[in-house]
Symmetry: C2
Subunit: 143 residues, 2 copies
DNA sequence: ATACAGAGTTGTAATCATTACAACACTATT
DNA sequence: AATAGTGTTGTAATGATTACAACTCTGTAT
């Protein structure tokens, strides 16, 4: 189900978006690191490969990919966006202790109420916050 | 169901939070303006009553109220927080054209999957984005 | 009354992610 | 070689939020 890097490359071509080296690298990074990275993580990692990379390019690329529907922007809070190559509907759980963001399945469409029948829905988000099992057991050990 | 201003005042007292003039005004504003205002909206409006009001105080107050569970912070995106006096579970729809945030009912608990049974959930959010009926019909008129 | 402590408020400066913008590089076409 | 178009880069601006130190207010102990 998860699209391969090649699938994504093909989709860019279809949408007439130039296949620059930097764009492909950002896309590849997202395809291989499905941990919902921040701009800074992407930038810092790719800089190892592309020493001249500019953070502006990362921002530009992510905006283009998001507009093309290839990545989803996740704004759980933090005023620091995260990016998800998985654009299928699913929920996110952010651990308030370790910061990890977990995916979980959600049948979002089943909860659209009658009241929204006259609205045009473009984007659906479900996210929870709390503590993950790992951090919960760490806490127990301390007590 | 909606708590009155007096209920809220009482709850502050119970939680040993000082009932300063500024705090009560912020609380009152939120109780009377259920449009999910921004810090700036709250600040600008209250300044008419309290000319010496500082924006820092608004930030401080909202943090205290949020920590006490009296208001809910909504971070739909925009890197501009909004505040909701309604802390019961419900969904939010943000119109991408006029910016209005609508409430809608959601049975959030019904969609918590098995996979999260070992997680401690502190905060649940559902929000959609798109176009509201008003903006949709405006668009039709133009075409 | 005076002094003192604690809580709350205020204004200013810092922080930090994001955006704007202009110069530069790269590629293809004439 | 000149030109145009696209993409990249670095720097400066923006804007919400936070840090911080000075000030005010109120109640209490001396
Ligand atoms: Mn995800
Ligand atoms: Mn609401
Ligand atoms: Zn954790
Ligand atoms: Zn609208």
């Amino acid at each position: 189900m998860d699209p391969t890097f090649e699938d994504l490359r093909q989709e860019l071509k279809t949408k007439n978006i130039g296949l620059s080296h930097q764009r492909l690298k950002v896309l590849e990074y997202l395809a291989q690191n499905r941990c919902h990275p921040t701009v800074d993580q992407i930038y810092t990692e790719l800089q190892k490969d592309i020493p001249t990379l500019s953070k502006t390019t990362v921002y530009n690329t992510l905006r283009i990919l998001a507009e093309a529907g290839l990545v989803k922007v996740i704004s759980i809070e933090d005023k620091e966006c995260r990016f998800d190559i998985d654009t299928e509907d699913h929920g996110h759980f952010k651990c308030e202790s370790c910061g990890t963001i977990f995916d979980f399945p959600v049948d979002i469409d089943s909860l659209i109420p009658e009241e929204l029948s006259n609205f045009k829905i473009n984007d659906k988000n479900v996210y929870f916050k709390g503590l993950c099992p790992g951090c919960l057991s760490n806490k127990k050990e301390i007590n």
